[in-house]
Structure formats: C-alpha cells, structure tokens
C-alpha cells in the first residue's frame, strides 16, 4: 500500500498572506486540523488536478492557531498572517512512499499530518508540487478498511504452520464454492515461533454451512476470544 492509495486528495489550502481568522474559519468549516500553505492565487479550493499547480510553502495546523490565540497580545490574533506562524519546512512524503514508512515517520516525529508532494526541477531550483495530505486519520481509515470493518461480516481465525498455508487455501476455495464473500484476510507475521494465524472476515450472517465443510475436511478454525470454558492463564 502506497501513500497515494490512502491520502486525502481534496485539499483546502491557504496562502502565506492569508489571515489567521480566515484560516480558522476554514478549519472550522471543514473540520480539518491541517492547512497546507501554497504560493500564488488566493483560491480557497485547491483540488488536486486543478488547473493551477500548487507549490508548497509550509504547513499550518490548528495547534499553530491555538498557540497564536493564547499568545495574542496587542494585535488581535485574527489579523496576524499565516506566514508568521506556519511551519516553513514541514516533513513531507511523496505519493509513492510506502504507507508503513509514512506511519513510522508520523509516530517517530510525533506528527499528525504530512503534506504529500512531488519534486520538480525549475530553473535550478527544486519546487515541491503539492498533491495531497496524509493524516493519522487517513491511516486509521486505511487500517479499518484493510480489516474489512466497513463491510458487514463475521470473523474467524484459521491457524496454520509457517510454510504450509494449505488450510487457508482450502478455506478460500470453500468460500468461493459456497458463495461466501471474503471481506478481508489478514496474516500477521509470527512472534516467538508461534504458528501463523489468519484472521478472515466473511460477509455472512450464517457461517454454519461453511464451518460444517471445514469440519468435514479437518480444517481447524476458532472464533477470536470465544471461550465457553474458564480461560487458562498458563502461557505467560
């Protein structure tokens, strides 16, 4: 998964000369927390693919505004300009950065959002063409989507030993045969040499026919955290 698959493309931008009052109105209106600051036209909407390219000048966050509000002295904060408080060299990623690298960057640097840019050479200068924004929310939504959470379904665990995913393959064939939709399939790499477990999300309210076939074929399955008996706490 690459940044371009999960980033926000509809961008609301400001220019360095805009006032903080204007920026605050935009953030409030669209319920965002980040505004990329771009050169040029004082346009409100900078949908990517728009006629004019947008070149990144900086990043303004709702925290920057809150700080300016808290520090406002003689001059009302609304009248100050974006360029006075924006971050002039925000950490950026490109559309082909991997999502895992971007996630690591956000966590390690304690950031909430990353402008997504493409670099262009222009008269010996490098310019950053703004193409999107990647926020923590985008990553969380991508995670929930990858887990199939936006589709109704039930979950099943299929244990299998590393190197032999046959039970998983059989499950998928049976699901296809019985017209059961597979909403998502997640295999987390093993820790401490434990066997693999695949979490399968199936789009059915009635898994019984599929489960009966699994049982007939001797394929092991469990439900996450479904235990009738007292849980054993012997494995630390």
């Amino acid at each position: 998964m690459l940044v371009k698959d999960v980033m926000t493309r509809k961008l609301i931008t400001v220019t360095p000369d805009d006032t903080l009052g204007h920026a605050a109105t935009l953030l409030r209106q669209f319920q965002f927390h980040h505004l990329p600051v771009v050169q040029g036209e004082p346009a409100i909407f900078g949908f990517t693919g728009a006629v004019k390219p947008l070149y990144l000048e900086g990043l303004l966050t709702s925290q920057d505004i809150d700080l300016a509000v808290a520090a406002s002295g003689q001059q009302p904060w609304q009248e100050r300009h974006v360029q006075e408080v924006m971050d002039r060299s925000p950490v950026c990623v490109t559309p082909t950065t991997s999502v895992s690298a971007a996630a690591q960057l956000l966590v390690e640097r304690g950031l909430n959002g990353l402008p997504v840019v493409e670099y262009e050479q222009h008269e010996q200068r490098t310019r950053a063409l703004l193409v999107g924004l990647l926020t923590r929310s985008d990553l969380l939504i991508a995670l929930a989507r990858a887990l199939g959470a936006f589709e109704p379904g039930m979950q099943l665990l299929i244990p299998f030993t590393a190197g032999n995913p046959t039970p998983l393959a059989r499950l998928l064939l049976l699901a296809a045969e019985l017209h059961v939709q597979v909403r998502s399939l997640v295999v987390v790499p093993p820790r401490n040499g434990q066997p693999h477990t695949a979490t399968v999300r199936l789009g059915t309210i009635n898994p019984a026919p599929l489960l009966m076939r699994l049982q007939d074929e001797g394929i092991e399955y469990t439900f996450p955290d479904l235990a009738l008996e007292e849980r054993r706490h012997d494995n630390a």
Binding site: T25, S62, G153, I205, P207, A208, D225, L228, E230
Partner: protein, 668 residues
Amino acid sequence: MTMPDLTSHPRVCLAFDPLELHYDFGADHPLQADRMRALLDLLETCQLWHQGDPLLHLPIRPASLDELRLIHTDDYLAAVQRLGASAARLPALPLQQRQELEQQAFRYGFGDGDTPIMPEMHEVSAMIAGGTLVAMSAVLGLPEGGQFASPQERPVHVFHPGGGLHHAWASRASGFCVYNDAAVAIAHVLRASEAKVLYIDFDAHHGDGVQRAFYDEPRVLTVSLHETGRYLFPGTGDVLELGNGLGRGYSVNVPLEPFTQDDSYIEVIENLLPPLALSFAPDVIISNHGCDTHAWDPLTHLALTTRALQAQVRLVHELAHRYCGGRWVAVGGGGYDPYRVVPRAWALVWAEMSGRPLPAQLPTSWVERWHPSWEAMRERERETWEVMGKPQQESGFPTTFEDQPDHFPPVPRLQEITRANRHTASLVRHLAVPPAVRPAFPPLRQRSPLTGLFDLLHLRGADTPSRSQTLQTPRGPVLLRDFCPPSLVERLRPSNGLCSFTRLPEREHRLLLEIARRADCALALAHTSGGEIVGEVTLAPGDAWWEGLEQVYEVAIEVSRDWRGLGIARNLLAFALDLEAREDLIFFAVGLSWHWDIEGTGLSIYRYREMLIKLFGSQGFKEYPTNEPNIAMDPANVLLVRVGSRADQRIVSQFFSRVLSTPHLPRL
C-alpha cells in the same frame, strides 16, 4: 413492576398480511416462514388473536415506492423489482441475460447464500415495510395509520411480527433483510410529524441498518443490545459508535459477551433503558424483538431463556406508558429456531402487549402439529451448534410457554461474563446517559474559534440539539425544524417555488444539503408533512468582508413563492433565532435588490425593502448604513443588524468598524 391500566388503552393490534408468509428463502435457509405459521397457529389455538377479529387485527398495505425511497436508493429499488420478477425463470434465461442479472444481484447484496433472490421479493418486502409504517402511523395518529371512528379505537400498541429486517442498507440487501421496514417507518414519522422516536433493538445481531439510517439524526435514539461483534455478524455495534454530527450521543450500542445468561442480561437492560428513555423523552417507541438471543438459537452465542425475553417486553411496555403515552410498536426480527423458540417468544410479546395471560402449558394440539417439523431439523440444528462453538443441550421440544430453568444450567464463565457486561453497561451509561453526556465529549475550548456553530449557539448547555414545532397555516400544518441534519434534508424535497437563487429545485436541494453538512452553519426548515420544503433560514459565519469576526452570523431567509402570505417567514425566522445564545451574538442580514423576487411578489423594489425591514424588525434587527461593497452598490440594498444584549463589546466595536471601514476595493 406496575401493571398498566388496561382500561386506559382500549385497543391493541397485531399487524399481519398473508403475503408476509412469502418472505421465505427456501428449505435449507435459516429464516423460515414456518416460524410465522407456527406463531399464528399458537395464537389462534390459545385464542389470543385471530385474523378474522377486526378488533385485534390491523390490516396493512405495501409501502409505496415514494415511502421506500425515504431509506432506499432508486437503483436498489429498481434492482429488487427486476431481480424479484425474474427469480422464478432465472435458470431458463439465456446465458448472457442470466449473467447480467447475477452481476446485478451480486452488486446489491443478493449474490450469496445469506439473502438469495426470492420470487416477488419487492412486493413481499414492500408489504413488510408498509406494515411497520402503518403500525407506527396508527399509534401516532398519522393518516397513514388508517381512519378510526373514535380516538378510543386507535390502537396504542401494535405488534408487527413480520417486521424487524434491521440489516438492510440504503442500497444493499444484507443478513436476510431486503427492505429496512423499521427505518422506512421511522423516516416517515420524521417527515410527517414532530415526533421523537426511541428505537430499541433486542436482536442478537447489531441493528446496523437502522443505526446507519439515522446516525446523524438527534430525533431518533437508536439503542441496540447485541452479542459483541468480535466475531459475530455484522461486526459493528461497538460502544464507541455514538452517532455523528448533531446525532452524536443518539446512537447507543451495548455489545454483550457470548454466553450471556438471563441474570446478567436483565441487569443490563434494567440499568440502561430507563435512564435513556427518561432523558430522551420519546414520543413513540419501536422495539425489535429478535429472539436469536435464545440459548437454543443456532446462529448466535447469547444464552437467554424466555425469562429474559419476557423482561425485555415488560420493560418496554412500562417505558412506553411512563414516557410516551403508551405509543409503542413492536416488530419481530431474527429468530432461527422456528418451532421451539420463535412462536413462544413472540406469543410472550403479544401476551404482554395485549394484557392477556398465557396458560402455563402449550396446547397439546399445537405441540402435536409442530413437534415433527422440529424433529426433522433437529440433527441439522445440533450440527450447527457444534460448528458454531455452542454447548450441546439435551432438552427436547418444549411443552410450556416458559422455559424450564433446569434445562439451562449456569455457564462455566458466568462470573467473568457478568463482570464484563457490567463494565460495558457502565461505559455506555457514562457515554450516553445525561448528565454524563457533555463531559464525555471533548471539552469545549472557550476561546478557540474551532468549535462548531451548534456549540456556539448553545453556550448555556441546552440539551435539545434540534427542535421541532408545528405551525398551523390556512393551507394546512407546516413543520418547523432547526439544525436539520443531512439525512433529513435528503428525504425532503424543495417546493418548486423555492429556488429564486438556484433556479432549479434539484440545485436548491443540493445547496441545502451542503449547508446541512457544514458544522459551522445552521439550517432551519419549514416543510409540509408530505416532505415539501416551503421555507428555509440559514445561519452562517459572515463571508469575506466579515472574515475573522467571531460570534457574528449572517442570517438568510427564503420562503417558497407558492407559500407566501401565510406568516411562514415571520414564524420561521422567530423560530430559527429562538436560541439561548442569541443575546451573546451579532446577527446580520443583507438585502441585495437584484436577488429580490419582485416578479413573484408583485411588490416594487421599495415595498420589498420595507417588507424585509419589517420582517427582520420583528426580531429586533435595525438598519445600518455601510460601505460593504456589495451592499453599497445599490441604494435599495440594505444591511440589517441585531446586536445581542450580552454581546462582547470588543467584538461589537470590531463589527461596526468593519461596517463602515474603507473598502480595499476601488469604489464603483
């Protein structure tokens, strides 16, 4: 428990139509129409109800396409009609046509074993949706509920066992459900009246379709109690799904542990439902009595008996009488033990609702008729339990209405389950029950400009986010509603005469939707009970010229050409501005002569200007001179301002310096 006084609600009905028995997905499918046949047979054998009894039977009719459109999309409705009509001859169709239909089936949720295409499924499902709609309309006294000779003959409770198809989405069949009858009925009530609706879903699965339909709607409180979605379909229904936008706090979810038994279940519902009903103050309750929560049900892991099912229905009955004049509709829902559980469970619902005592024993003749059907499926039921990880139980076919406690021994993890459910219930209480509602939300930062308009307008913490009021006009009642959420706007349509800016009703509709979606705008509408928008008032932060001024809002009003002269403008404006924060704020309205509907009103520019000043004057607005470039462009234009008596003096002086500041733009 106080028994309701039966003489005070003379009429209780059961809604049913024989067409509902065609909601059947075939022999090997868990949802069997036989469960309805066995139920009706049980009621008739016990002389609790009879289809021929005009006092107890509420006749129903199919929901119209217009009514189904309140929830479902046009393309989905078209697909259901087309697929249902061709279901019977599908195998005989030419390959290409068949593949095309199969693709369509797949796209709309009919492509799997759960909700297969069923012959005439549009007609059958529309009848079910119509049944719940008629039932709701009847208890609320809306015309769609039918004509009654006297108010005493209007039913106060209605049971519609065929309803409860709570998984259907706007454009997709899901989990055995085609049309979402409860959602259609609730949407109809929202459109046709001021009523607030409490929806309580006892089905073992999360009521995802109904929750989705009203996720942003504070006039509908959806409460779903279900087995946790950790593995069970549909996987949603977490405590933290609380609603969106203005509807935040109006979706409540109580996910319960697998193998939850009666005591823990009853503790949870008695703990949560009364305070929720009290604080929401509904006008009507609709409850889903899906009985797939029973220990014998093959599809879920909850382990209730008739004792808990009875506690559900008793509690709802009591809440209905205590908080909403008894207005209550119960629908069926899930239930996949069609012979041993469903008939008894829903007979208990009807007995409680109609105040008729049940005999202890099931009638022998009924047992003789239905016991063989269960024997025929007994082995399959046992296998299903096994693969679903449920304990095997030795009990046979029941002979009594109520379950025998010794058939249901305590499960091994009882203590752990009870503790986990208590924890869940206390979390829900904390999140959804006032006065804990507000502190549970992110605290309002007093000086931050980033809060939504709703919070600004309710600085003093009122807890009614969206008010309704009925205005009687010579052309019939008009409903006034403030803070309209997008879902409501979607279900209404603008009157043809309401588009002096946008020219086209569809464009006006899109515009209103965009306004409804903005957190910093408020939209108040006047609409008819038929769903026609006849007037609108918008409150929005001032645009470019007024940028950066806090607590300054522009007010705009429009009333349909066809609905003028009825006092709607004056009343709607007064209603929209009847906000507790009005004295903290500055409101202004801009009248630009080139926008005025001179042709439609037949007034001169001068007269129109006078009318506008008078209209806003009724709310304390005064005319001010200004050099705001738009207004200054024509001497007929007018700026009207209302400064709240408590408005911050710093903001007031900023505002007036802006009103008369020198424009940066060259003067024309």
